[in-house]
C-alpha cells in the first residue's frame, strides 16, 4: 500500500513541470504560424533593404573586395549631383501629372461606364475598349508609343494632315517635348486601373443618396460635388497615393522609350539609379540614391496607411 500510494501520486509532480512547457508552447504557436511569412519577409525584404542601406554608407562596394566606411559622402555626392536634382524634378513632374491625369480620366470614364444612358452591351464594349491599355505589358506600350511618336509616325501624319503642324515633330527626340511624351504614354497605360477601382466605388454608392439630392433640387453638378465625390473620397485618396508610389518607381517605360534622354530631360530617379549601378558600377552612390527614393516613398506610404486607418 505504502508502496503503491507514492506511485499513484507520482504523475502529479511530473505534471507540474509540464505545465510551463505547455504555456510556453501555447505562446509560441502564433509565432510558429507566422514564421514562414516572417522568414520570407526577412529574406526578401529586410535583408536586401539593410544591405542597400549599409552599401550607401560605404565606398567601393560590390566591385571591390575591401569596401571602406564613407559616412555620408555618397549622400553628399548624390544630393549635389545636378543630374540627380534634375531627375528629382522630372520625377516630380512625371508622377504628379500622371496621377492627376489618371484620376481625371479614370473618373470620367468610370462615370461614363456607370451611366444609365447606355445599354448593357454598349457598356460591355466600352468597358473592354477602355481597359485595353492596361492589358499590354510595359515593353509593348513602349514599342507602340515609340512607333506612334516617330517623326515619320502615325501621330505626326495625322496632325500634319489636319493642318495642326507644318512638319514632323520629334516628340521623343526633342528636349522640350520628350518629358510630356513619356508622361502621356504613362497616362495612357495607367488610367484603366483608376477607372476600374472608381467604377467599383461608384457602383457602391447608394441610389437613395441621389434620390434624396434630387428631391432637394440638387443640380447634376451639385450631386457630383456633394454626393459622388465625398462618397468616392476614400477610394480616390488611396488610389492617388498608391499611384504616386507606383509611378515614382516607373523604370521600364522610360528606359525603353528615351533612356533618360535627350539631354537628361526624361531622367527619373529610377533611371538615374540604374545608370549609377549598371553603367558606372557605382553601387554605393546607386544605393544612396535608392535610399533617398525609399525615404520619399515611405513618406507617401505613411499617408496611405493613415488614409487606410481613417477608413
Amino acid at each position: 500500500m505504502t508502496l503503491i500510494a507514492p506511485e499513484t501520486t507520482a504523475p502529479a509532480p511530473e505534471a507540474i513541470p509540464g505545465r510551463p512547457r505547455s504555456a510556453l508552447a501555447r505562446r509560441l504557436v502564433p509565432y510558429g504560424y507566422l514564421s514562414p511569412t516572417v522568414l520570407l519577409v526577412v529574406v526578401l525584404m529586410v535583408v536586401p533593404i539593410v544591405m542597400v542601406i549599409s552599401y550607401s554608407f560605404r565606398d567601393n562596394v560590390i566591385v571591390q573586395e575591401n569596401s571602406v566606411f564613407a559616412g555620408l559622402a555618397n549622400y553628399t555626392k548624390v544630393l549635389t549631383d545636378a543630374d540627380f536634382l534634375a531627375a528629382m524634378k522630372n520625377t516630380a513632374i512625371f508622377i504628379s501629372v500622371s496621377t492627376a491625369a489618371h484620376l481625371v480620366l479614370g473618373l470620367g470614364f468610370a462615370m461614363m461606364l456607370n451611366t444609365s444612358l447606355l445599354g448593357g452591351v454598349a457598356k460591355a464594349v466600352f468597358r473592354i475598349v477602355y481597359i485595353l491599355p492596361w492589358l499590354f505589358t510595359i515593353a509593348v506600350i513602349a514599342v507602340i508609343w515609340r512607333l506612334l511618336l516617330d517623326p515619320s509616325g502615325v501621330i505626326n501624319y495625322v496632325l500634319h494632315t489636319l493642318g495642326v503642324i507644318q512638319q514632323g515633330v520629334d516628340w521623343l527626340g526633342s528636349p522640350s517635348t520628350a518629358l510630356w511624351a513619356v508622361t502621356f504614354a504613362n497616362i495612357w497605360s495607367g488610367y484603366p486601373f483608376f477607372m476600374i477601382s472608381l467604377l467599383a466605388g461608384l457602383q457602391g454608392i447608394s441610389g437613395d443618396l441621389y434620390e434624396a439630392a434630387a428631391v432637394d433640387g440638387a443640380s447634376w453638378l451639385q450631386r457630383f460635388l456633394h454626393v459622388t465625390l465625398p462618397q468616392l473620397r476614400p477610394v480616390i485618396i488611396s488610389m492617388a497615393v498608391l499611384d504616386l508610389i507606383w509611378t515614382s518607381q516607373q523604370f521600364a517605360l522610360i528606359w525603353m522609350m528615351t533612356g533618360g534622354g535627350p539631354l537628361n530631360t526624361t531622367e527619373m530617379l529610377s533611371t538615374y539609379t540604374y545608370k549609377q549601378a549598371f553603367s558606372e558600377y557605382e553601387f554605393a552612390t546607386a544605393s544612396a540614391a535608392a535610399v533617398i527614393v525609399l525615404l520619399i516613398t515611405m513618406v507617401l506610404a505613411f499617408f496611405y496607411v493613415r488614409s487606410q486607418r481613417e477608413r
Binding site: V29, G32, P36, S152, G168, M257, G261, L263
Partner: protein, 429 residues
Amino acid sequence: MAVRATRLQRVIGAAMAATLVAVVAACGSDDSSDAGSGGAVTLEFAQWWGAELPAGDFDKIIADFTAQNPTIKVKLLSAPYASTKQQLVTGAASKTLPDVVGLDGAWVSDFAKQGAIADLSQLMTDAKYDQSQLASQVQIKGKTYMIPVVNFIYPLFVNKDLLAKAGVADVPKTRTEFLEAAKKISATGGNVKGWALPLDTAVPNGIQNDVMSWLWASGGSMLADGKPALTSAPVKSAVEYVKSLNDAGVIAPGSLTMKEQDKVEKFTNGQVGMVIDSLAHINLIKKNSPKLNFTVAALPAEDGFTGKRGLPYASWGIGVSNSTKHKAEAFKLVQYLMSQETNAKLSTIANGFPGNKNAKPDFSTSDPLFKTAFDIYQAGVPANEFVGLPKSEDLMRSFDEQLQLVLTGKSSVDDALGKAQESWSSVIE
C-alpha cells in the same frame, strides 16, 4: 494539452525547417559545376550567342565538344545580350560567374579589376596553347582576359537605289563625297534622309559605332598613351564632321533618342540612304525587305587619307571565371571554340569573321555581300578603342551627352570635347 502542444510544435518545427530549406535552396547558388555522376565535370557557359544564332546551331557545336570530351558536360545558359550582361555584372559582383562566359570587350576591364575573370595567359601557358593562331587577344596590364571568338565588323551600308535616284554614281569614299551624297539623297524628298545617327543614352553604343568610327576610319585615335585625347585635332575633326552632317539636315530626325534597331529599321524601309551597321544585320535586312538593293563598303575617310582604314567591330569574346574549380576543363572548351575547324564553322553560321587566323569562313552558301565585307575586313584594320577601357558604356554615355549638346546648339565642339575629356580623365587613370 501538453501532448497536443508537443505535436503542434513538431509540425511547426517541421514546417519551419522545410520553409528554411526551400528558401535557402532558392537563394543559394546552384553549384552545378561540381563533379556530377560518373566523375564528369559540368561547365556552365553563359553567353548571348546561342540566342543570336539559328535555333539549335550552337547546341550542335557544343554537342560535338562533349562527344569529344566525355568527362565534360556543358550547360548552356543562353540569353539575349542585355540580360547576359546584367547576369554577368551581378555574377561578377557576387563571385558566382558561370565557369565559362561570353564577353564583350567593353566589359573586360571592369570584370578583370574585380578579379572575376581568370588570367587566360596563365591558362594558355599551362595548356601549352599556341597563341600565334589567335587573331587578337584583349589584355589588361599585359595579361589576356578575353579572346575574341568571332568578330563582326561595321561597314557602311548603302542603298544603291536611293543613291542612283539622287544621281550619285559611286559609293562615297571620302567625307566630302559622303556629305554630298547624303545631301543629294535628302533632297529626293519625302521622309528620306542621307544618314541615321542613333544617340539614345540608354544603350549609347552609337558613339562607338556611328561617331568614333569616322575617327578610326581615318587612322585617328581617341587615346594617347592609354589616356583620353578627346581634344586632339583628329577627334575634333570627326565631331565637327558629324556636326556638319547635322547642320546640313541630312541626319534622320529623332536621332537624340534613336536606338540601333531604329537605325536598321529606317535603312530597311528605305527611309535612310546610308548607315554604319553591323554585318550581322545583312540577313535581317534581306528578310524584312527582300527587294532592298544595297551594298556594303569601307567607311569614308578624310579626303586624301591613304593609310589603312580602321573598321569598327564588335566581338563575341570568351573568358573563364576566376572562381571556377575547373579552369583546365573550361580552357579546353575555349580551345575547342578557337580551333581552326570549329572557329570557321562558328564564324560561318554567325556571319562573322573568325578569331583564329587560320580559320577560313565558308562563304559558298552565304550572301555575296559577306565576301565583299571580308575583302574590306582584310584591306582595313579592326578598330575599337573602347575594348578594354574601364566603364566603357559610361564613357560612351558622357561623350553622347556632350555630343547631344553640340547637335542641339547648346555647346560648342571645343567646350563639349573639353568636358568629355574631363569626365573621361576621371575614369581612365
